[in-house]
């Protein structure tokens, strides 16, 4: 029962969308369509991603990763997390579980936030879209300016969080 309580608002929302459909209420229908568009992506993409993360978690030992992207990894570690982020696809909330995984496997704080920055602004699938619609010059310029900016954010976050018992929690 307590479990279902967390879904109360979602149930109400879906009921309203359902009623809109039955009574032909256009605004409700449009909202329902929007919801379906996102939900489709989410239910196809996220469970698979979480399974992937679970597998990664049980198979890859912490020491292996920590050596490459941990406190002592330096620029190479930062380069690695940026590369990893660039190869991925999906919305920002898809990056949080990966960030949790990197943290659990011993990544430095700085590299966690650099990963989030690279994931949100430099994913290759996204860049190809950007070049198509906004041109190569725009895309290149934006990427080159953004890269140092989110690296700085990584350092700032690490500086702030270093002695604050920071952790990425498992949801």
């Amino acid at each position: 029962m307590k479990h279902l309580k967390k879904y109360t608002f979602s149930f109400i929302f879906l009921a309203l969308v359902g009623l809109s459909y039955i009574f032909g209420f256009a605004a409700g229908n449009q909202i329902g369509m929007n919801f379906w568009m996102f939900a489709k992506e989410m239910f196809l993409f996220l469970p698979l991603m979480f399974v992937l993360i679970g597998l990664f978690d049980v198979w890859v030992p912490r020491e292996k990763i920590e050596k490459h992207i941990g406190e002592e990894s330096g620029w190479k570690g930062t380069g690695l997390v940026i590369l990893l982020a660039m190869l991925q696809a999906g919305p920002l909330y898809g990056a949080f579980p990966f960030a949790y995984l990197l943290w659990k496997k011993g990544s430095s704080i700085k590299n966690i936030f650099i990963y989030l920055g690279a994931y949100s602004t430099m994913k290759i699938p996204m860049l190809t879209f950007e070049v198509g619609f906004l041109g190569l010059k725009f895309s290149l310029l934006r990427t080159l300016i953004t890269l140092p900016v989110f690296i700085i954010i990584g350092y700032l976050m690490e500086g702030y969080l270093k002695d604050k018992n920071f952790e990425v929690k498992q949801p």
Binding site: S10, G32, F38, L44, L55, L92, T121, Q170, P171
Partner: protein, 156 residues
Amino acid sequence: MLLISIITFVLLGLSFLFDVQKTLKGIKKGLTMFMNLLPVLLLMLAFISIVLFLVPNELLIRYMGQDAGIEGWVMAALLGSVALIPGFIAYPLCGVLIKSGVAYTTIAVFITILTMVGLVTLPLEAKFFGWKTSIIRNLLSFIAAIFIGFIMSLFL
């Protein structure tokens, strides 16, 4: 999308071949995380679908305006932080915005904010990082995006 599905299934198959117990543990772990996030995710999506309905493209064009000054950037930044538009809609939309006279620098701010800052996804982010850290990260990214717009205006 297709690629990640294929990769997952191939790895899943390999994993089963090597160690069934370990694989089941991994799957359970992943799906538990997903189930724990599901209530927040559903709420988030419901909220986004309503916002997306209330804010049509024409409104974005009107508010981001024609001039590339700090005002346009701040407007783009504010709109970008509340919006959560997937890339395959955002880029065509930006194409439309450019054609209707919105400056490239404003678009740069909008894109950066759209991808780095998420007010709507904040409750989700907080599940991983805690509220304080999430808010600081979003605030820093917000400032950074406006800064990026400024630097870009020196080149474009």
